[in-house]
Amino acid sequence: MCDKDRLVSYLYDDLADGERATFERHVRECDDCRRELSALRGVRADLVSWSPPQPDFGFRVVREPKVVPMPPRSWRAWWTPAAGLAAAAVLVLAAASAVARVEVHSGPDGVTVRTGWAPASATVPDGRVGEAASQTARGDVILPASSDGMDRSIIETLDRRLRALEAASREAGSVRNASLTGAGSARPADADIIRRMRELLAQSETKQQGELALRIAQVIRDVDAQRLEDLKRIQQGLRGVEASVNAEAAGHRELTNYILTSARQK
């Protein structure tokens, strides 16, 4: 019985020089071992043809990112371009409504008109606006500001009332001149007050426009800053996508090179 261990060692060229020479002498004399050796060499040649597939590996060990507790999200974190635009619209409306609030104050120093966020201390029903405006000589009057539409109508009503008073004043002046009586001495003072009120209303309007412009500018600045922030975030996202695409392309290149090298070697 031939030594199969020795045959396997010879097959894989794992014998020392002396042992190899001895085994080769044996093989020359033993037909069985010679045939077996040849057959096993054939099997080894067949084994070479079995190659595994070449998958795209791409497996790498990465450090686990540290888990940092998320801080409470500020309003800015929820801020999106759409939310920004909506908020801007609301702000503009609020600014316009605030601007439309008109306060008329009459005191010993004369009549003053103010606008802004100061709350109204008293309101006068719409139907009595003209009456309230005519009470300037007797005390404080604050025009109602219950809603935007009403404010506008109040201003228009006030304007109409002032025009009517002006016309009445002119008419009374001409009658006074004609009758030469001293009873209408207070009329020129009324006309002066009306004129001053008109001036103050004009000033107030200018001031309102200025405030509105300031508020709109502020909104535009906020929206612009948010837009820049959003753009920055989008760019960061794009850079991340680009990096992963590059990594994938590198993997494909590597695989292609490997296939080409393997093909050349074969």
């Binding site: 199969k4 080894r44 084994l47 597939p53 590996f57 497996f59 060990v61 093909a263």
Partner: protein, 192 residues
């Protein structure tokens, strides 16, 4: 000049992930090939390959260099393959297609190889895969480690925890079965 496995292992043990990933790149194909030839399924072999590196990474601190790093990886892979076979309770399945796709073959054809040779090679490859899948696990493992990974008898004996002579016996028995089966299937080029 490329670093040796020992240098990369030492740096990895010091926390250098890049070094460990260099080891992954260097060894992922042989490890995948070992897993694929042992269990015969592409996707599962891929999972085993990935799991091998994960386990190696986790156990790296404990690797003292008693064996070569590659032998250590092979041992992990074989253990995982053994688990897989036990879990699946079945013989490895050789995923060899029934027919031979000429278009696929053309892409693998080397300039010096005729299409007839290529078809013959593919048929032998499929037959080898089939017969190998039917071998007892210890014989198959001995053949794979010796033929495809070039380990010495001693390295295989150490890895499989068996005497040197057992390795040679398993090899001889496995090759003899292959020879008979391939003869029976009428494939192979040098069988007597």
């Amino acid at each position: 000049m490329a670093s040796t496995d020992e240098e990369l292992v030492a740096r990895s043990q010091g926390g250098d992930l890049d070094s460990f990933n260099q080891l992954v790149v260097r060894w992922e194909r042989p490890i995948y090939a070992l897993a694929y030839r042992t269990i015969g399924r592409e996707e599962d072999a891929r999972d085993v390959c990935q799991e091998t590196f994960l386990r190696a990474f986790r156990a790296l601190k404990g690797f003292k260099g008693q064996a070569k790093f590659s032998s250590w990886l092979y041992r992990i892979t074989l253990n995982l393959c053994r688990d897989w076979i036990r879990r699946e309770r079945r013989q490895p399945i050789a995923q060899a297609p029934e027919g031979v796709d000429l278009i696929d073959l053309a892409s693998e054809q080397s300039p010096s190889e005729s299409i007839e040779d290529l078809v013959a090679r593919k048929e032998i490859s499929q037959a080898v895969a089939r017969v190998m899948a039917g071998l007892p696990e210890d014989q198959r493992t001995a053949i794979i480690l010796k033929e495809y990974h070039g380990l010495t008898f001693q390295e295989i004996a150490d890895m499989l925890d068996c005497p040197l002579s057992t390795v040679k016996t398993r090899l001889y028995q496995g090759l003899s079965v292959l020879r008979r089966q391939l003869d029976r299937e009428g494939v192979g080029r040098h069988h007597v």
